[in-house]
Amino acid sequence: MDDETFLLLLLSDSNLPTGSFVASSGFESYIKHGFGGDQNNRTTIFMRDSISAYARSALAFVSDTHRIVQDVRRDVEQGSEQKSDLDSYLQKIKEVDELYDAMTLNDVTKRASKSQGVALLTLYSKGLTPPLAFTGVKNRKETEIEVNSYMTSLVSQYKSLVRAESAPGHLPICWGILTGALGLTSERSQYLHIFLHARSLLSASVRLNEIGPYNAQQTLLHISRSVIEAEVVRCKDLRTGIPSSTGTESDQPDGVDDKSRGPANTWPLGEILAARHDLQHSRIFNS
């Protein structure tokens, strides 16, 4: 089994401590406010709209952050002098992070995003780096060891920025950092992120007594899949518009020519309901 497949299996584990267990992505509020019609279709309808909206608003941030981390990896592997300037990479990530914060004008979503984001950084530091006493696989290349060392440093320094409230630490950015540090490809990183969003939603649906556990698996396998595919394909080339470290200006999404290349909110109803989550008299989820 190759490295990447093993990583995917590990990251898909529902026991992974990511803090997504307490998030319903606005579904609880949606139901409480009387949306979606009767229970039969509610989950599918919500899932469809939610995945579409989330992919459009977040995927560009995942891929742009991932690209920055890949640049660090490339610099280390090539022995370039830039590699020692981790600070400039951290600043680039922070810029992407702050743009997501400025574009996500929703207190509940931001709260959930930040708590899950920092959980992912902690997961990397405490759960996915080689243990201290570990002597390592004998054949491991020196560059690989060096890359891992830079990645560990990058993640821990970014986490410090977040803890010091110097950077927001949002979920899509932290997912980009995590998957970039682990060496996952961008395509896999994007796909898995949306898959986990869908899976988390279905899990919330079961706990809200909307669908049963078997029905949830059925939905995930036979219905969610095409939605996830379509939305990832639709959004995989979106960019945030912040120039990458390669020095080439990415397309400006708001340029007169190019208004379809950037992140956007495509479901204002979902936005309002997610923001109103805390107004529920009683609730079992945090968001």
Binding site: H33, A102, I223, D254
Partner: protein
């Protein structure tokens, strides 16, 4: 920055400039120009500290290929209220181009072959120290197959006040239009003292889902049952009271399980983590009138800053 510009800036078709300056405690419009199809009107007011400008288009609507670009400067100690007269209607296209005597902007000359050119409206606002901008237009209505983009950038000083309303309705009810526009893209970007604090990007599109039509969700289905969606950005000294009222109201709402959606829903969120950055209010209503009334009542405390008579002109 000096009051009036010493050189008259070159403007293209659909271009416009407004500068509101202060002199001896009175506000006066030191720059005021517009080219077809943009039209600006400014009525005389009894109150000398505030000015009103109506932003209009000839024909009462925009068509594919139109490009409006407006630059607004609200200088220190002045207050500007920007209004429209009736909903901005966006039509898909028309058989002939608009005739304009002024050179068409770059944008309009460039269009994707085979596609009806989209409509674009760009507004750049600078709001200086102790100044206030109240952008309270009527909602945009995109008719069937219309494609419209709007990019609004606000550069404000730390102690400037901004009230930015951006809203859209579902179409002509008489023709049964229910969110049948092709594309609506709106950006509101706010920079305070040079730093970006908010960038609200809304994209509404009717597009086809390739593989499974069963999962195809039209815009009407996604936005149902509401016919009007509004976003209001509020920040600055003159709206502190409004924000406090909203926060109290919002905190008092308690939702129990409902069988069906309410007629009007609204949400409140803060911008950034600094209180100085203001709030975003989002409203959705089954009818535009409901949203209008809600906005009119919610923003009523603006009367103490611009006067009852001036406020009355908004939300007519």
């Amino acid at each position: 920055m000096p009051g009036s510009s010493t050189s008259i800036s070159k403007i293209q078709a659909g271009g416009g400039r407004i500068t509101l300056s202060s002199h001896g405690g009175k506000a006066w419009i030191s720059e005021f120009s517009a080219t077809y199809p943009l039209k600006l009107l400014s009525p005389r007011l009894s109150d000398n500290t505030v000015a009103i400008v109506y932003v209009l288009t000839y024909g009462g609507g925009l068509v594919g290929g139109d490009c409006i670009e407006l630059t607004v400067n609200v200088e220190s100690d002045t207050k500007l209220l920007l209004l429209s007269q009736g909903s901005t209607k966006v039509f898909k296209d028309r058989p002939q181009q608009r005739l304009a005597s002024v050179q068409r902007s770059d944008y309009a000359s460039r269009s994707t072959p085979g596609q009806a050119p989209a409509t674009l409206q760009i507004m750049n606002f600078t709001v200086s120290s102790q100044a206030a901008l109240f952008l309270l237009p009527d909602p945009v209505t995109c008719f069937r197959s219309a494609s419209y983009s709007q990019i609004q950038t606000f550069r404000a000083s730390k102690d400037a006040t901004l009230v930015i309303l951006d809203w859209i309705t579902s179409g002509r009810k008489s023709l049964g239009e229910d969110w049948v526009l092709s594309r609506y893209y709106s950006v509101n970007e706010v920079l305070i003292a040079g730093k970006r604090v908010a960038k609200d990007v809304m994209l509404l599109e009717n597009n086809e889902f390739n593989s499974d039509s069963r999962l195809n969700r039209s815009l009407a289905e996604k936005l149902s049952p509401f016919a009007c969606y509004a976003t209001v950005i509020l920040r600055g000294p003159l709206v502190e009271e409004t924000i406090a009222q909203l926060t109290t109201r919002y905190g008092g709402i308690s939702i129990m399980q409902r069988k069906a959606p309410e007629d009007l829903l609204w949400s409140l969120s803060s911008i950034g983590s600094d209180k100085e950055n203001g709030v975003v209010v989002r409203v959705a209503g089954k009818e535009t009138e409901m949203v209008k009334d809600w906005l009119k009542n919610t923003l009523r405390s603006l009367e103490q800053h611009i006067g009852v008579d001036v406020y009355r002109r908004a939300f007519v």
